[in-house]
Symmetry: C2
Subunit: 137 residues, 2 copies
DNA sequence: TTTAAATTGTTATAATATTACGTATGTAAT
DNA sequence: ATTACATACGTAATATTATAACAATTTAAA
């Protein structure tokens, strides 16, 4: 049983559907839409939207993936120990999405949240940008 | 021609469909979904989803309303001179949505954006909270 | 090993949003 | 006033995103 994916222990507890959806998102690195995932995994045995949505829901719950709300898409979490707080940059020109992690911006936001003593349980931040590649061109 | 709505000059340039959609969102103060708006305005002459979506698109473009992405809903802008940057709190218990404006949090975010010299053109921030009312109960 | 919880597969349908097309309207330049 | 242009309109059809309902099965734990 070899695989070109690196899984941690916790991945072993995923069900088959959850695992193949996670692998696809992992390999892609880009945000993918539910029905694209469905089409891509037909050959793996996924037949209905609900199978995809159920896997996605679970993976979001586990913090392994995130939903990019304004794109109706799902992306692998690139921050292994991230909580439910998410922050993304989305390039307005090319659509590229990056998860922002552990930088001044997210630290600053966390501090602001603490300072302001809002009862914030989690947040989702979407920053629209012109990415470096697009900026040059 | 009297009205219980307060309109500024610019509202005069809105078309009929745009105006009745704006008025509904204004009177409601809550985020409303497109098809709810459609149902509500049947009697005013709105017949198809597209009429609603076109009005909503224009109003978003004008900055008079905002889309709350994670709710697929639209809410009146309560900050008359706001740009395309938006920040909301969303109560996880009761669903109440408030636009955050001109407070420490948004000022802080603006400063972080400046400091980090990201090519950010606009942002949408959604903070999930337990609102004061729900916190008590 | 029996019970409870979670997951599965399937069908159907709900909810959200856009495409395509032709018509009408308002505005500005000729 | 007439043309040209952009914007908005109305309507029908369709695409996209997501969930409900139900029965069967697997899994984990007591």
């Amino acid at each position: 049983m070899s695989s070109n994916h690196t899984h941690n222990k916790k991945d072993q507890t995923l069900t088959k559907n959850q695992r193949i959806v996670l692998n696809l998102l992992q390999d892609s690195g880009e945000p993918l839409k539910a029905y694209f995932i469905l089409d891509s995994l037909k050959k793996e045995g996924l037949n209905s939207p609900l199978q995809v949505y159920r896997a996605l829901d679970k993976l979001v719950e586990l913090g392994k993936i995130h939903k990019v709300e304004s794109l109706n898409s799902f992306i692998i979490c690139n921050n292994s120990n991230c909580a439910s707080n998410t922050a993304f940059t989305i390039c307005e020109r090319c659509g590229k999405v990056k998860e922002i992690k552990n930088n001044n911006l997210t630290e600053g936001v966390n501090e602001l949240v603490r300072e302001n003593k809002l009862n914030i349980t989690r947040y989702n931040l979407e920053f629209y940008v012109v990415c470096n590649t697009c900026k040059i061109n």
